[in-house]
């Protein structure tokens, strides 16, 4: 009888523990879901920021290419101008 009582108490305790663990798991799932959502939002923001920056970098590269060409042209014109000056003096 005593043994039976102990067994039943143990079963009861373990069942209570099971319920506790189950609820904790569920709560943990909820919390982590919220946490992931926050992290995902941050990540999304960073990704869109990264996209904008990459766009700007693309513009920048295009500008640099164009600038290089123009400066090359200006240098070429300056050299031609110098040549014309030397030609007129000599």
């Amino acid at each position: 009888m005593f043994f039976n009582i102990i067994i039943f108490i143990l079963i009861f305790v373990v069942i209570v523990f099971i319920i506790k663990v189950y609820y904790e798991s569920e709560k943990n799932k909820e919390l982590s879901k919220k946490h992931y959502q926050k992290l995902n939002i941050v990540l999304k923001n960073e990704t869109s920021k990264s996209y904008v920056i990459s766009e700007k970098i693309a513009l920048l590269e295009s500008l640099h290419e164009s600038l290089f060409k123009r400066l090359f042209k200006i240098t070429q014109e300056v050299l031609l101008f110098q040549k014309l000056i030397f030609d007129s003096r000599s």
Binding site: I7, L43, I85
Partner: protein, 650 residues
């Protein structure tokens, strides 16, 4: 041939044997055995010899029974073997060797059960019931009698079924359960009425009346005696009439209705005399003598006493003899005949002592049996208690085992849940780490790119300042040194123009870079500025700019999209200014299904699209359109103007 003849004789003999004298039957059977017939016939003959020797010599009966058994076993005749065991069992029963009888009956029972001989099985159950009845194991007796009854009823063997019901009723009577005995007899009477067996019904009425008498219900008892008498008289069943008159007379005597009692007892005496039933005559005569003695009719007393004593001595009925001696003592005492009184008193005492001692022994045996039965019952009860305790222990252990099983299952579930929880935590941690790593990576990348943009901005500022310085220096050169050489002046103007265009491009790009996203409204104002400037600087050319009102002002473009659209429009207008000689250049922006279109149209001299080789300007426009996934279309005809359409999805 000889054997066949003997067999035929044997079968005929079997039919006739019930009507013959046992000694004669035994002789005939012995002759059959001597003629050495078939084994099965010999077995049957031995079996019958055993049966008929039962009342002659019990040892011979055993001997023939064993011979039948041995021969059956030898020839593997199972029917004969079962019958032999059955006969031997009956002999043991006769000798009151009840355990042996039960043992032998059980052997026979096993064989008959295997042979599916249900009637044989029922007969054995009945005999076993009788054994248990004699050993006062009444519950077992009722159990076996009931089993036999069920078989007979199933086989519709009413006669045997009624006999068994009578047996069961007698067991109840022996247990002093008169109510149950009465119920059984009433049931039997009902069956007898249904099957219209009046002979049996008369006996049933007698039994019912006796049972009511035991229950002290004289009204019902009288009623059934009368019913019995009426039916017996109707059927002229003199045996039953005599019994019923006697019983009814006794009942009337107990009710002190003496004349009526004498009348019925005289009727009974007369019938018994006619039937030569000596025992009955003796009993009724002594009964009547007693009644006359009480009534004081001494002349009638002696006649009946002498008749009763004589017949009781002849039939060896000691209880009747004792009764006769006792009544003679009283009779001579009344007559004051001292010698006779002493004589009959001594006879009475001597016989009574003998009978009494026998009765005492019988009663002691019965008491012993009852005691044994009671001991057995106690033992059974104790065994039942032990069994119940063991069952309780088993139940307890089962409960414990079940409990342990449930506990194990519950612990397993808990373990599984904990494992799952841990696994989930690990997964969550891993996912979190992955997300954080991705975040850190992208953040680092963004920081690096932002730094790059910052450096670029510084560089652009510096370049812008340097270009402004170049323009300013060129202007100073032109006005300060008063250069008259046209070539030199043109060159300076070209360099200055290049520097100015570069600054514009730089400014446009910085404008686009400073915005993370460009609204259509921003683009509209920038295009509008550009067109206004062109309109002011070129008086012969008219510029128009129109934007569809249905296009949302909040339409958002990326910096690359905005910049490329602006550059394409700029290039197209520049081309129109340079080559078209048009009077009007119009720019229209409007909405289509899933896109918006920009249309740049002039009414200039146009060109042949098929023959004209595309220059750098047009190539650049196509390249920029491809970068923003837009399509570009040029339509032109000589002297019909040119139309450039850009389709931009959003």
């Amino acid at each position: 041939m000889n054997k066949r003849l003997l067999s035929t004789i044997f079968i005929i003999f079997s039919f006739c044997c019930f009507s013959q004298n046992p000694v004669k039957i035994i002789d005939s059977l012995k002759q059959v055995v001597d003629s050495k017939p078939k084994d099965s016939i010999t077995i049957k003959a031995y079996s019958d010899l055993c049966w008929y020797h039962r009342n002659v010599s019990i040892d011979s009966a055993f001997s023939y029974g064993n011979l039948a058994l041995k021969l059956s076993e030898k020839t593997k005749n199972k029917i004969g073997e079962a019958q032999a065991y059955n006969d031997i069992g009956i002999l043991h029963y006769d000798l009151a060797e009840y355990p042996k009888a039960i043992n032998v009956y059980q052997k026979s029972l096993k064989i008959r059960q295997r042979l599916n001989d249900s009637l044989g099985v029922a007969s054995l159950y009945n005999k076993m019931g009788l054994v248990y009845q004699n050993t006062f194991k009444m519950d077992s007796a009722i159990f076996y009698a009931t089993k036999a009854l069920h078989i007979y009823e199933a086989k519709n063997n009413i006669r045997y079924a009624i006999a068994l019901r009578n047996n069961i009723a007698n067991i109840h009577k022996g247990l002093k359960q008169y109510r149950k005995a009465l119920d059984a007899h009433l049931e039997i009477a009902k069956i007898n009425t249904e099957v219209k067996d009046d002979e049996a019904l008369v006996k049933s009425y007698n039994n019912i009346a006796n049972a009511y008498l035991f229950l002290k219900d004289t009204i019902n008892s009288i009623s059934y005696y009368r019913k019995g008498i009426e039916l017996a008289e109707k059927r002229s069943n003199r045996n039953e009439m005599a019994t019923l008159y006697n019983n009814y007379g006794s009942l009337l005597q107990s009710k002190n209705e003496i004349p009526e009692a004498i009348k019925f007892l005289n009727k009974s005496l007369k019938l018994r005399q006619e039937l030569n039933d000596n025992y009955g005559i003796s009993s009724t005569s002594l009964h009547l003598a007693g009644l006359y003695l009480d009534f004081g009719e001494l002349n009638k007393v002696e006649k009946h006493l002498r008749l009763g004593l004589k017949l009781s001595e002849e039939s060896g009925a000691n209880e009747l003899k004792i009764d006769a001696y006792d009544k003679f003592t009283t009779f001579y005492a009344i007559k004051k005949n001292t010698d006779s009184v002493i004589y009959y008193k001594e006879l009475f005492k001597a016989l009574k002592d003998t009978v009494f001692s026998k009765q005492v022994i019988k009663e002691v045996t019965e008491v012993q049996e009852k005691y044994n039965a009671s001991e057995r019952e106690k033992e059974i009860l104790s065994q039942r208690a032990d069994l119940a305790e063991k069952e309780l222990n088993i139940t307890r252990k089962n409960t414990q085992l079940t409990g342990l099983g449930v506990l194990a299952i519950v612990i397993s579930i808990l373990g599984y849940l904990l494992f799952n929880q841990q696994k989930l935590k690990n997964q969550q941690l891993k996912r979190e780490v992955e997300l954080k790593e991705a975040l850190v990576k992208i953040e680092t990348q963004n920081r690096l790119q932002e730094q790059r943009l910052r450096i670029s901005r510084d560089l652009h500022d510096n370049i812008g300042a340097q270009l402004t310085f170049i323009i300013s220096s060129i202007e100073n050169l032109q006005y300060g040194f008063k250069i008259t050489n046209d070539k030199l002046n043109n060159k300076l103007l070209t360099i200055s123009g290049f520097a100015r265009d570069t600054i514009y491009e730089l400014r446009d790009t910085i404008w686009a870079m400073n915005k993370s996203e460009i609204y259509l409204e921003d683009l509209q104002s920038r295009i509008s500025n550009f067109i206004d400037k062109a309109d002011i600087s070129l008086s012969l050319m008219k510029f128009e700019f129109h934007i569809d009102e249905s296009l949302s002002k909040d339409l958002v473009l990326t910096s690359v999209q905005g910049m490329n659209i602006y550059r394409i429009i700029q290039e197209a207008i520049n081309n129109a200014i340079k080559y078209s000689k048009a009077k009007t250049v119009s720019v229209n922006i409007f909405k289509t299904n899933q896109s918006f279109q920009i249309e740049i149209k002039d009414d200039g001299n146009g060109f042949d699209v098929s023959s004209q080789k595309e220059g750098n300007g047009l190539n650049n426009m196509r390249k920029r359109a491809t970068e923003i996934e837009a399509s570009i279309n040029i339509e032109s005809k000589i002297n019909m103007g040119t139309q450039l359409t850009i389709n931009i999805p959003y």
